[in-house]
Amino acid sequence: MTKAIEVKNLDYKYSDGTEALRDISFSIDKGSKTALLGPNGAGKSTLIMHLNGILLPQRGKVIIDGKEVNKKTEREIKKKVGVVFQDPDDQVFSTTVWEDVAFGPVNMGIAEEVVREKVEKALKLVDMWQLKDKMPYHLSYGQKKRVALAGILAMDSDIIVLDEPGAYLDPRGKHDLFEILNELHRNKKTLLIATHDINLVAEWADRIIILKEGQLLKEGDRSLLLEEEILMQANLTLPIVPSIFLQACCQRSKIPVTVEEAVNILKRVMR
């Protein structure tokens, strides 16, 4: 099966000489939930901008669904990969919620009825349909964030990349957002989120990529979240659940990562 995203030996140097990415290689399966972890300045944003052709590789390759990203394919890639920016105020600019969500599909030049359908579907999915005629400016931060997400969903991209989706959201807002992401996962979308919220990653991701100073530190499944040394190198800490269990007891192989796993263990123990 072709991979959703394949990055091969990617380098990127800014014009001021900063090496933002150095020899990055990894791949992401279709339908997976991947977390891109790393401290500020690790190159997460730069990497994301390569995934839908805002930036083109200076060296190395980015291959999306079997197609290499370059000048010729960049248009097509933008339809395949949707990027939700960190700050919705940088992305949401139209005068009504509806118009903003329609912006992407309208740019794609698809038929008007299809645009209307897609916008409705996207707004209903993020539970913002009843606010479709509101001015985005009057919405709360969490609502704006959902509008930004709907704007990407309406483009029907197979791959959705979110830069710091949880940032500045209150706990409830975060919870709602991840409900939506789970729904997207059930709809077979490939999801990639960049974040440094390690607990969120523990609950949600099935694949982990850790960047440090523009280089790939480690890639792997969720067991990576138990490797304290590697996490420390990337200015991260152990997630709360494994951190408790590692200190309290247990064989490494039995350490839970999510709250649900921990609860199951506790139930067994306490019975």
């Binding site: 800014y14 901008m49 052709g53 805002i54 083109l56 440094h196």
Partner: protein, 208 residues
């Protein structure tokens, strides 16, 4: 995350530079309008002769993106003023657009030839002078006769009032030279001075 700056030369498509110009002009126009709201009007004829800093973003825009971008900033600012404020049936907006555009375009045109601080200052000086000259012609041949025709204000009476205030004013020409020209020069000089003070501190982002 999200703080990584991307300089324009590394961005892949030419089109994006157009989209960037578009968004920058729009934001500068908006900024310019906001400054207009915090204006410092001179007491007399407040609605028609404004002294504010709203030309500063347009000047910076013209330096950063060329003379036409500066004119576009002036246009956006005045359309915004018209759709929000609309106090003088577009007369104030038209005059403001013309005044600002002449100055901003001239300064931007000089700077586009050679991008140095000296040329920027020279460009602004030329812009201010040209603006004052052209606007006196515009007032002499268009605006004042228009007011006269539309509102039936006898020019002789205005000139007489001017004479009372300043002996040198004897006819319409001298009235323009002694009232409108100094006002426009003052406005242009103040705006240019602020821009000069700003220039050094914002020029890194202009050239990025």
């Amino acid at each position: 995350m999200g703080n990584g700056r991307v300089s324009s030369e590394t961005l892949n498509i030419k089109k994006l530079s157009n989209v960037r110009t578009l968004t920058k002009v729009a934001v500068l126009g908006s900024f310019s309008f906001v400054i207009m709201l915090i204006e410092f009007p001179l007491p007399l004829f407040a609605a028609f002769l404004r002294l504010d800093f709203s030309d500063v973003p347009a000047l910076i825009g013209a330096f950063a993106m060329g003379p036409w971008a500066g004119v576009a900033v002036e246009l956006i600012k005045n359309i915004l003023h018209a759709v929000f404020k609309n106090e003088t049936a577009l007369i104030g907006e038209t005059a403001n657009f013309l005044t600002g555009s002449i100055m901003v375009f001239t300064a931007g045109w000089f700077y586009s030839r050679k991008k140095t601080f000296k040329i920027a200052v020279m460009g602004m000086a030329a812009g201010v002078v040209l603006m004052a000259v052209l606007m006196s012609f515009a007032n002499y041949y268009i605006f004042i006769p228009l007011y006269q025709k539309l509102l039936h204000i006898p020019l002789d009476a205005i000139v007489q009032m001017g004479t009372a205030a300043n002996k040198a004013i004897i006819d319409l020409k001298t009235l323009v030279v002694y009232s409108i020209v100094p006002f426009n020069l003052l406005k242009g000089v103040v705006v240019s001075l602020i821009t000069i003070m700003l220039y050094k501190r914002v020029s890194p982002i202009l050239h990025s």
